[in-house]
């Protein structure tokens, strides 16, 4: 019990439960399986991006360019499958390859020129996105192949409401789940994953201990690129259109979700469980407000408030902890 109270995650979970209770009282439709599956599906896009961002934040860096990477991956993928055909696997491979390549460019710039990651990735965001807009002319793509549409409708299992509306676990959601599991194993059970934590905790100590900083950094940024590529694909599956301007601008939403989940901008801290909770909290807020018929403008205000509360709370916890630490056995 005491151990539970030590974890940031516990408190986020608590907030989620409280919010859910409030929303349910106002609109009971919130706490239905149907709504649940629906929300989870529509947040798999943000969720996958958040996994990538969790990795960079833990490693002690930051990546802003991931939305541009997602957009480029999505666009290239869409153009290619329309022009040359293919199937869902080629779509995956294309999005992944573009994502990884752009991530590697980020990593190379960061490692060799030793520029702060935030500046590097703000620059590459603009470059990637700028080039895409120039080449595509900002045109939207609607004419996605039939198999692409069909894949998005697959459900791993199907349930039915009383009114006869079908719902269930979408294949899109399961991509998110799969990604989370793989990422969790990497972070928790591989040398590489622990190296990411070590690097975020102290770059110098990691170097001295014999971690290969170059390789770890390459992995982190290409992994974030891969996640962005996959997220781009998932978003295309969700909305069945590819619009070059629909993703860029969402960077802060994603980073906010990850930070809410307990990851630190200073590096070295964060868990996937926390990130899932962070995404969940944001999802519930947004969905709950729709269900409660609150104007969506309030959404941003609330997210801002929650972030401030969360950060203030962590600071408070650190302070009380420090207070307890300086105890002397007084006779």
């Amino acid at each position: 019990m005491k151990n539970l109270l030590k974890h940031h995650e516990t408190y986020v979970l608590l907030v989620i439960i409280i919010f859910s209770a409030i929303i349910t009282v106002i609109n009971p439709r919130f706490l239905t399986l149907e709504n649940f599956f629906d929300v989870v599906k529509s947040y798999s896009f943000i969720g996958i991006l958040a996994v990538g961002v969790t990795f960079v934040l833990i490693s002690g860096g930051i990546d802003i360019s991931f939305t541009a990477v997602a957009t480029v991956a999505q666009y290239v993928m869409a153009v290619m499958i329309i022009r040359y055909g293919g199937n869902i696997f080629t779509a995956f491979l294309l999005a992944a390859a573009v994502g990884i390549s752009l991530g590697l460019i980020n990593a190379t710039l960061i490692y060799f020129f030793n520029i702060p990651t935030i500046i590097t990735t703000i620059a590459t965001l603009n470059i990637y996105y700028g080039i895409l807009i120039v080449i595509s002319g900002g045109k939207w793509i609607y004419a996605l192949p039939g198999w692409f549409r069909a894949f998005a409708d697959i459900r791993l299992f199907t349930l039915c409401t009383d009114e006869g509306i079908k719902y269930g676990l979408s294949i899109i959601t399961s991509i998110w789940i799969l990604v989370v599991i793989i990422a969790w194993v990497i972070l928790r059970y591989t040398k590489l994953g622990r190296g990411i934590y070590a690097m975020g905790g102290s770059m110098n100590a990691a170097r001295r201990a014999g971690f290969n900083i170059f390789r770890t950094q390459m992995f982190v940024y290409s992994f974030t690129g891969l996640m962005a590529g996959l997220a781009g694909l998932v978003q295309a599956l969700l909305v069945q259109t590819v619009a070059p301007n629909s993703i860029v601008g969402k960077e802060l939403d994603v980073i906010a979700a990850v930070v809410l989940g307990g990851a630190s901008l200073a590096g070295g801290v964060g868990t996937l469980f926390g990130t899932i909770l962070g995404v969940t909290l944001i999802a519930i807020m947004s969905n709950g407000m729709t269900l409660m018929r609150v104007s969506s403008f309030w959404y941003n205000v609330f997210i801002g408030l929650i972030i401030i509360l969360s950060v203030a709370f962590s600071a408070y916890q650190r302070r009380t902890k420090a207070k307890r630490a300086i105890a002397v056995e007084v006779e």
Partner: protein, 498 residues
């Protein structure tokens, strides 16, 4: 002569502006305990970084380990040769658990790409058992005391098949008991043919543990001597080229209104019923073991740790100190014990670190920082404390450990406090610098500043203070007037209490 474990010939290292090492020849025999001493910035840490392959020496150096010569000696070579270093800054991962920190080298060395948490815990438990300590395995290193962190770093070095263990000032934060335990470990390792290189500014410790001692001065090697041929004084002389003498600090019986008076100050779990007065011109020593409440008391006076009951009076006026700002505005200055983390912005320049506390005083009529004033102030501080830095705009992290500490002192002295609390002002500082810092403390006192020096080295408080209080378990258990006591008497008092 026994077999050589390590032999280095003509090792030089130049950083921009400093010759950190100048054609050093250095040898360590197999299984010996070798001490390395020298003033701050004499090149000890640099030599260690070269032995561990973290830094490469300049052209012309020859390095042989167990008879094997290396062309490009890298950190991986040293790891494979069983060289383990515990760095001055410990090189731990604050965000990882004790178990993970201890087992990390093993994790990296293992061939498997995956982690077995069972193995991680096993390794950590075995290493701790080896030196007979117990720290909760799943505690974050960040939450440990510095002493415990030092123990974790030592445990980590013991997990591998270590042949040469290098300790760069390992005892700065350890209590006497823990130092003894560490020495037992080193002796025990020696019986297992493990060689140790030991760097410390506590010369008596070096002479106690080391069989031979190598002395560096200004990047040059002065020589290697068997420690039975050395004494504290001789070692000091070899290091500095000067004789350091102590003269006790005595002042006339102070009278009038005390600068600072503390009445029945208490805080649960920190300190209890503290009463004392501090007069202008006094240097008041507070000693006692680690964990006796010294630091907590100091922090209470500086607004970092509010007392629950009792009064604080400054020049006879009762005040409350709720924050560091309030303490500073009352003219209180504080040099913290854990300077490495509380005192400096490591990436920033020496100059900026020095003036950070007094920027408001450097502002001219145009509300801008007066550059000349700033420069003067920085230069005079650097000179006063003889800070060895290649340039005033060098980043603090490139200075040697001891010089970093002087920067912290400089920063606080600059605030012109009326009451100056120094918690361990000379931890990790060499003998010559120690006496120059003591000199500075004295001069401040003579100018009428009231000074509190907190230290666990009895000799330090004895030689510098006119009055000494001994703390134990949160209470003041004794008070001595330096001119009417001896070092031994105070030491005995502390030993008796614990």
């Amino acid at each position: 002569m026994a077999d050589l474990f390590l032999s280095m010939k003509s090792v030089s290292k130049r950083y921009t502006g400093v010759q950190a090492l100048d054609r050093i020849d250095f040898e360590i025999s197999k299984g010996e305990i070798h001490g390395l001493v020298g003033e701050n910035g004499s090149g000890k840490s640099t030599l260690i970084k070269i032995i561990s392959g973290v830094e490469q020496p300049d052209e012309g150096a020859r390095i042989e380990i167990e008879g094997q010569a290396f062309k490009h000696y890298q950190s991986i070579d040293s790891i494979l040769k069983g060289i383990e270093v515990i760095y001055q800054d410990l090189s731990l991962f604050p965000n990882l658990t004790v178990a993970e920190n201890i087992s990390l080298s093993q994790t990296i060395a293992s061939r498997s790409r995956f982690i077995s948490w069972r193995r991680v815990n096993d390794i950590a438990e075995r290493a701790m058992a080896r030196i007979g300590i117990q720290i909760p395995l799943d505690e974050m290193v960040n939450d440990l005391s510095i002493a415990d962190q030092q123990l974790v770093a030592i445990c980590r070095a013991l997990t591998s098949d270590v042949k040469l263990l290098i300790l760069d000032e390992p005892t700065t934060a350890l209590t006497k008991k823990e130092v003894e335990a560490l020495f037992t470990v080193i002796k025990d390792l020696q019986s297992k043919e493990i060689t140790t290189l030991f760097v410390s500014h506590k010369l008596n410790e070096v002479l106690q543990i080391a069989e031979r001692v190598t002395i560096l001065r200004d990047g040059k090697k002065i020589g290697t001597f068997p420690s039975r041929d050395l004494t504290d004084e001789r070692l000091t002389f070899l290091m500095t080229g000067e004789k350091v003498e102590y003269s006790p600090y005595e002042i006339e019986e102070p009278q009038g209104v005390p600068l600072l008076e503390v009445r029945r100050l208490s805080k649960r779990g920190n300190f209890k019923d503290i009463n004392f007065k501090l007069f202008p011109g006094e240097i008041l020593g507070i000693t006692g073991l680690l964990g006796s409440g010294r630091t907590e008391l100091a922090q209470a006076l500086f607004g970092m740790n509010r007392a629950e009951s009792g009064d604080i009076l400054i020049q006879g006026r009762k005040i409350t100190i709720r924050s560091v700002q309030e303490a500073m505005s009352q003219g209180i200055g504080y040099v913290p014990e854990n300077r490495m983390v509380q005192g400096l912005v490591m990436q920033q320049s020496v100059a900026n670190n020095i003036v950070i506390t007094i920027l408001h005083r450097l502002i001219n009529k145009l509300k801008m920082i007066d550059r000349n004033k700033k420069k003067d102030c920085i230069n005079s501080r650097i000179e006063e404390l003889s800070i060895r830095t290649p340039a005033t705009d060098a980043a603090v992290q490139t200075l040697s450990g001891g010089n970093q500490q002087r920067v912290v002192l400089a920063k606080w002295i600059g605030t012109d406090p009326k009451i100056f609390i120094m918690d361990g002002p000379t931890i990790g500082i060499d003998v010559a610098a120690k006496s120059s810092i003591h000199e500075i403390i004295r001069n401040l006192a003579i100018q009428g500043v009231g000074i509190i020096v907190i230290s666990d080295e009895v000799s330090e408080v004895f030689h510098n203070c006119n009055r000494i209080m001994v703390m134990h378990k949160g209470r003041i258990i004794a008070e001595f007037n330096t001119s009417r006591t001896s070092e031994e008497e105070i030491q005995d008092y502390i030993n008796m209490a614990s």
